[in-house]
Symmetry: C2
Subunit: 269 residues, 2 copies
């Protein structure tokens, strides 16, 4: 695995980095195909929204773009992970001094092998809930213990778990966003209080009209999924992934999920 740390090949960072001490930073996971990162401008736009929200003064987005391009070149298919932290934490305490120098880590990972389940994708409901914080909602920040605990508690027969927040509202999967289809409506949870605004979620929402659907972003509950004709999860690695089974309920036929995937592949690749 090749890793660039502040532009230099390496595999170590300062032990007193605020990314480690407080999770004070952001990340992106970027799909690369045929030597090129896909939807890089959407990833960098989300990164910039996060930097602004955390008041994290990182301005080398152009350099990051060059480094990602360099790592992707020559790879038929890989994932690139980008981490930006606020940098040095040798001055103790939560308050940033304001003159930290951010740390950037760009690393290239092999595309993970998909589990072979004969097309099945089984999803459960996690006992781990998501805390609500509007200041952090939507961001891909480094505080991810809730997701770690959710996946730690997943049974081996499952491919993903859906998560509710502290009020019982359905929010997302542990590593994905979630959608239902009841024609003509495409529905996904609002992420004003918690959750991550995925790049693939954004692409699905932008594709709805072209695929004959009306996108709605609003409240959802796990119980409400019983009425769904289609149920799918999305992330940059899985794309639009139909859920074949959710807590005892089967979803045998998902034509809109397939149509959305085809539209995204045809339009943005």
């Amino acid at each position: 695995m090749l890793t660039l740390i502040n532009g230099e090949p390496g595999d170590r960072i300062a032990a007193h980095d605020r990314g480690l001490h407080y999770g004070d930073g952001l990340f992106e996971t970027i799909s690369c195909v045929q030597g090129k990162p896909r939807w890089l401008s959407l990833h960098l736009a989300r990164l910039c929204r996060g930097l602004a929200r955390l008041q994290l003064p990182f301005s080398d987005v152009g350099i990051v773009e060059q480094e990602i391009d360099a790592l992707a070149a020559g790879q038929s298919r890989c994932l690139i992970k980008l981490i930006i932290t606020r940098g040095d934490a040798t001055r103790r305490g939560y308050a940033p001094s304001g003159d930290e120098k951010p740390t950037r880590i760009v690393s290239c990972h092999p595309w993970p092998a998909a589990k072979d389940r004969n097309g099945a994708f089984r999803v459960g409901l996690s006992p781990v809930t998501l805390g609500r914080n509007p200041l952090l909602a939507g961001l891909k920040h480094l505080n991810r213990l809730e997701q770690v605990l959710a996946q730690q508690r997943m049974t081996p027969d499952l491919d993903e778990v859906l998560m509710i927040d502290a009020t019982g509202a359905l929010i997302s999967g542990s590593m994905s966003n979630v959608f239902t289809v009841n024609p003509p409506y495409l529905l996904t949870p609002a992420l004003d209080h918690t959750g991550v605004e995925g790049v693939m979620r954004q692409l699905v929402l932008q594709s709805a009209t072209a695929c004959g659907l009306t996108a709605r972003v609003g409240p959802m509950t796990p119980a409400g999924l019983a009425q769904a004709q289609e149920l799918f999860v999305t992330n940059i690695r899985l794309g639009v992934q139909p859920v074949t089974w959710f807590e005892g309920q089967a979803f045998p036929d998902q034509p809109f999920a397939a149509r959305l995937q085809r539209h995204i592949d045809a339009t943005w690749c």
Copy 2:
């Protein structure tokens, strides 16, 4: 600043540590006086509760104790920070593999100089709220963005800010626990849904009876502080710190706070 990483002096850790990628770990900040760590057994007991809750298989607590003793020796007064992470993250994804080797970082920091404010300690109410998650409540884990954001938004005239959770309940300061006194009652918020169970909070609760107070742990609100005779915050560095001003309200006289501090110093030092 001397730092031991897995027992060896150093200042770098692996860039692919789960502590950095997900905040998947715990920390302790230990006060050391005259070459000795104070209340180390309470710190290590909280660490062990956190390890169990995160299912983080770290068993070298005896070695940590030796390392802390070694770093404290010869220092008249210092703070030692201990971080335990789940270790290697080269296998991508939130799910722990179960065979990670935890990373331990023990570092010695100079005792921070107190701000000179002629005995004043001014506290505000933070606009940053705390998300609720019972699985993480009470732990001193590495997901601390809410505290970073709270301190980032503190105006320079303040020494600390109190924080409410997503339901409006008063929980703690950004770096401290909070108490009120209305004789005979000593009151501090329950931390079943969010917040950190501080070692100094535990010492204050254990000292209540000896200081003529009846300890109660239960719901509190910022509005309720207007009725308090005394208001103080606690952490390992500040001890029992009387609040002299909270959002326009003055607390000129705090005899119980002083009595609790004397009792803790006399009993456990």
